[in-house]
Amino acid sequence: MIRIFGWNEFLVIVMAAQWTIALSAIAFAGGSVGGLLIALMRVSEVRAFRLFATGFIRVFQGTPLLMQLFLVFFGMNIFGFAINPWIAATIALALHASAFLGEIWRGCIEAVPKGQGEAATALGLRYYHSMRHVILPQAIRIAVAPTVGFLVQLIKGTSLASIIGFTELTRQGQIINNATFSPFLVFGTVAAIYFLLCWPLSLVARRMETRFSRATAR
């Protein structure tokens, strides 16, 4: 029995985009917290923190996202948790995002001139206030564009969660395709939805990049 790819099938795919968005959002939120920690550890004066953060970044940058998903997914089982694609995908993507955002933000923190931290220290500001009020606000300006750029990568990366059985946009497409066997229509639709999610973000990133380069040129 082959179903026809009609309005209903189209809507089912569109609705699945909400899971892609949700997974991206949660992974990005988790990755932001983790990424800030990793970035701060990476620029820390404590050697052990630096080593840990460097290792963490190396591992996640040096292995495919799909393997990270597999390891978390099957690893959870080994450590006695019930297999749950949702939780596995969220954890794996958040860790992945932590590593990449950590590396991006480390560069942004280091791009703030050394004299800024020295001036803060000389005024008696300690680590927290110096970071919070002097270093990070300046780093954030530099970080916005590459961060949005990474978010686009992350959204596209969530499609891999389909392989561990998480029903988001790509997996919903596969399911519909199995029933309708109209791969061109189905995956054309899926691709178009990814594009509509990512393209505006790319535009925003580019706009911010030019705005920032203009601001620093002054």
């Binding site: 800024q116 020295e118 001036a119 803060a120 000389a122 005024l123």
Partner: protein, 259 residues
Amino acid sequence: MNMVSEIASAPAARGASDPAVRMEDVNKWYGSFHALKNVNLTVGRGERIVICGPSGSGKSTMIRCINQLETIHSGRIVVDGHDLTPGGKNVDLIRQETGMVFQQFNLFPHMTVLENCTLAPMKVRGVTKAEAEETAMKFLRRVRIPEQAAKYPAQLSGGQQQRVAIARALCMNPKIMLFDEPTSALDPEMVKEVLDTMVDLANEGMTMLCVTHEMGFARSVADRVVFMDRGEILEVATPDTFFSAPQHERTRFFLGQIS
């Protein structure tokens, strides 16, 4: 503006009895490079010290050790009675009591002039915003730029930025001011306005250690001139003696080069 008359007389106790800064046999290395070699210097309260010497001689390193922007490897530094031996607990206290002015100003570019001045008093001393702003305006008036309070550093000239940096340091009510070539990054026409501000400060009785090659300033303001070369203090003398009868060959060579 009558800053001079506010604190008319020079401070009474100048000398070694109750020093603002005492450095004893201070040594510092950058890797294998011996940056400070057995540095001994005692700075009395209210004393104005000018430090000069060739590039790379360790002038910046020395004054940065006083507020622990650099740590020393051996010896002892006592600031305002607080021992600064490495690992000591007095570092935060010392940093609050010493103000520092940098060659590159190092104002916080994302904050207005006023915010630059109020940040540390609010976060470190815990004073209220209103109080911090009042103090900030007082010092901005003293450095003669109260009208720039709402601007961002990038909107000011170099000389104005450096005066803001001085005001920002003063807002913490420091007992000692450290200057690291405060006029070296300035266009020539702006040097005077910054030096004038520093003269005012000296006249108020502030203890000052000032790395500078402005020999006019050294002559008119310094109580003593310190000459450094290759990580050592070669000569400490009153400006008169320093300029008219330098003891050391290398000092004479240096003075010949800069004048």
